[in-house]
């Protein structure tokens, strides 16, 4: 590649001594050029899709006595609550995917955390805060170890977290003895503090607590992703790891942190899971990682890493929730529901492809 170059063969163009730029700028576009316009459209694409699905849902919603069932207070609350665990996991997954990785272990970490929450409170007599703290720590540590393995040993995160999935499920089965640990509330032994039931409740009896947590975490993640140096590093590594390294980005540290965040948020989801179902079962969260990835993809984040947004992921998660809900309200056959969800994911991915070919 690097041959010596003799003078005077600069693309046949007469060489000027003046410092003025001659020609060039083949790819420069005037302000608001096509590339940027398309970028702009796609930035709101997932929100637009969410809006479309929302309106469609209203249109096809079953009615009873003139009331649009889909729009009922309770139903909207149910939607956000039902999607909150997937949504929280998807927030962590977004960081990982932006980094150019994938985390298959989050569903299993959710199960492990649900089991941990139940066991610690019911069998080990932990209070709520100590139990939650221990579970969050386990989740974050588990993620951090995976991050370290993929960053330091250079193993693809797909493989590391595939192994992590097995390990987390195994730990959950061992910890629980293979059975679900029911959570009974009360002050006695083998009972959890009743205050933990607040996860199953709602604020003002209307907004479910998990939904509030989901939205809160989502908004916090949006801020982190927009405002922090950490987020810039994530984008840089996901876009071009070598370039990031050469620009002084602490690649190892960022990767460990990102997987730790994914593990931590999976643990949060696991605690919520245990609180909602009053049980921690080692099989909880099976396949949730795939739903989370779907939310991320529908949200417009590229699996290649480096481009995407948290707002898109939140929109993607809510879109999936609305889709699930409206299909169920219309009593669409469970198998057909799967087909429709698959088509939506492919459509989202297709839009991404389209974006890249236009810009």
């Amino acid at each position: 590649m690097t041959h010596l170059r003799a003078p005077g063969e600069e693309s046949g163009t007469p060489v000027t001594t003046a410092g003025v730029a001659v020609g060039g700028h083949r790819r420069w576009r005037p302000p608001g050029g096509r590339g940027e316009l398309v970028e702009r459209l796609f930035a709101v694409q997932s929100l637009f899709a969410l809006l479309v699905v929302f309106v469609l849902a209203i249109a096809v919603s079953p009615r009873r006595d003139g009331e649009i069932l889909f729009l009922s207070t309770e139903n909207l609350g149910n939607i956000v609550r039902a999607v909150s665990e997937i949504g929280i996991i998807a927030v962590g997954m977004t960081f990982v995917v932006l980094l150019g990785g994938i985390d298959l272990s989050v569903g299993a970490i959710l199960g492990l955390s649900a089991v941990g929450t139940a066991t610690l409170m019911v069998d080990s007599g932990f209070g709520i805060l100590p139990a939650v703290a221990v579970v969050l720590l386990i989740g974050a540590l588990f993620g951090a170890v995976q991050g370290y393995a993929t960053a330091r040993l250079g193993i693809q995160s797909f493989i590391v977290t595939l192994a992590g999935l097995q390990v987390a499920r195994g730990l959950a089965r061992i910890w629980s003895g293979g059975l679900g640990i029911p959570i009974a509330y009360g002050d006695g032994p083998q009972e959890a503090p009743p205050a933990f039931e607040f996860l199953n409740g709602s604020i003002n009896g209307v907004v479910p607590v998990p939904a509030v947590l989901f939205v809160g975490i989502g908004v916090a993640a949006i801020v982190v992703l927009r405002k922090t140096a950490f987020a810039r590093h994530v984008y840089a590594i996901g876009g071009n790891e070598k370039a990031a390294r050469l620009s002084g980005v602490p690649v190892l540290r960022v990767k460990v942190a990102v997987f730790a965040i994914a593990g931590l948020l999976a643990a949060v989801a696991g605690i919520i899971h245990a609180g909602q179902l009053n049980q921690g079962s080692p099989n909880d969260g099976a396949g949730y990682e795939l739903d989370a990835i779907a939310a991320v993809v529908i949200g417009g984040t590229s699996l290649a890493g480096g481009t995407g947004s948290m707002g898109g992921t939140l929109a993607g998660a809510l879109l999936l929730g609305i889709l699930n809900n409206i299909l169920a309200l219309n009593n669409i056959d469970a198998n057909v529901q799967l087909l429709i969800k698959g088509l939506v994911i492919v459509a989202a991915a297709g839009l991404q492809k389209l974006r890249r070919s236009i810009v």
Partner: protein, 332 residues
């Protein structure tokens, strides 16, 4: 540009949440079940199934659907939770949004579904729980089989009919830790107690799976080639055991029994009819009984339906297999 995007995002999520908070609260449905009843009206029944992928639950769904067809005014919608507790909770909630008139639920697990079943019950929706129970008292009726009784029936069949002169029995159990497996084992031992010459010499888990039953039986038959019979906790494992014996050339010598007796081509009744199994014991789905109860609650406005219905088992042998298959709706 990015700021606007995020603002929009916040607005949308915000709108979703606040519209939840702000929209008008519907007056509570309240009232008791009997207020919404009577002949000549249309009723919507929500059937929340734990997992459609199991043949037993498929048959249960079919039984419910078939039975509902014969009652004018009843419409049944089925939701499949695919073994996911959270999904089943959402399914029930969606049924409530649809304002179903009655809920039939076959819960995936007891504890996680107790709260949502209670929610439905508290709103005045009659709830019929099928097969597996939920905790507490917040349901209208429970219909289920008695696994101890089924095991006992099987044991008595061994003691009196299959092995009156005694013999060695190999047991292939269901998933360790599951209640039906424990009860079917316990009942069987009660049943064979009458004949001390019947002896369970080995017991290994087959996890309800045909292929697992086959590999377990393969090993057991090697260790006990003189075994007289294999008692499997369900029909697929019994079929698997039969295949293992056939491979070892023991299938004519050893007798096999299963449990479930599903009226489907791949089910135990056919296996008995075709001579692979000596007997199987019906574990009824309760689908018909559930619809019958629903009819009484909705159409007849009955208030005093039985709180617990325990389904009888039926012994199916070569003699009654064909007839039972037809009666239970096989081939329909």
């Amino acid at each position: 540009m990015r700021t606007r995007t995020v603002l929009l995002a916040l607005l949308c999520t915000g709108a979703l949440v606040t519209s939840t908070a702000c929209s008008v609260q519907k007056p509570s449905e309240g009232g008791d079940a009997t207020a919404n009843c009577g002949a000549g009206r249309d009723f919507l029944i929500g059937m929340s199934q734990a997992n459609n992928a199991e043949p037993y639950r498929q048959v249960m769904n079919n039984d419910v659907r078939t039975a509902a067809k014969s009652v004018p005014g009843l419409t049944v919608v089925v939701a499949d939770a695919a073994q996911d507790n959270s999904k089943q909770v959402a399914d029930v909630e969606n049924f409530l949004t649809q304002k179903i008139d009655l809920l039939i639920i076959s819960p995936n697990e007891a504890k996680p579904l107790t709260a949502v079943v209670q929610k439905a019950y508290d709103r005045g929706t009659p709830v019929i729980v099928l097969d597996r129970k939920v905790e507490g008292e917040a349901y209208t009726a429970f219909i289920g089989g008695d696994n101890v009784a089924i095991g006992r029936a099987a044991g008595e069949f061994y003691a009196n009919t299959l092995l009156p002169d005694g013999g060695k029995v190999l047991e292939i159990t269901g998933l360790p830790g599951s209640t039906p497996a424990a009860e079917r084992a316990q009942g069987f031992r009660e049943g064979i107690a009458a004949n001390p010459k019947v002896d369970v010499v080995a017991s290994q888990p087959g996890d309800w799976l045909r292929e697992k039953g086959q590999s377990v039986a393969d090993a057991l038959l090697k260790a006990h080639p003189d075994a007289a019979a294999v008692y499997a906790h369900n029909d697929p494992m019994a079929e698997g055991a039969y295949l293992a014996a056939k491979a070892a050339g023991l299938h004519t010598k050893v007798k096999f029994t299963g449990i479930d007796a599903l009226p489907v081509p791949s089910g135990g009744i056919k296996a008995v009819e075709q001579g692979r199994l000596a007997a199987t014991f019906q574990y009824a789905t309760g689908g018909r009984e559930a619809v019958d109860l629903a009819r009484r609650i909705l159409v007849d406005c009955a208030r005093d339906v039985p709180r617990t219905t325990t389904l009888d088992t039926m012994r199916i042998t070569r003699e009654n297999a064909t007839e039972a298959y037809a009666r239970l709706g096989g081939g329909a």
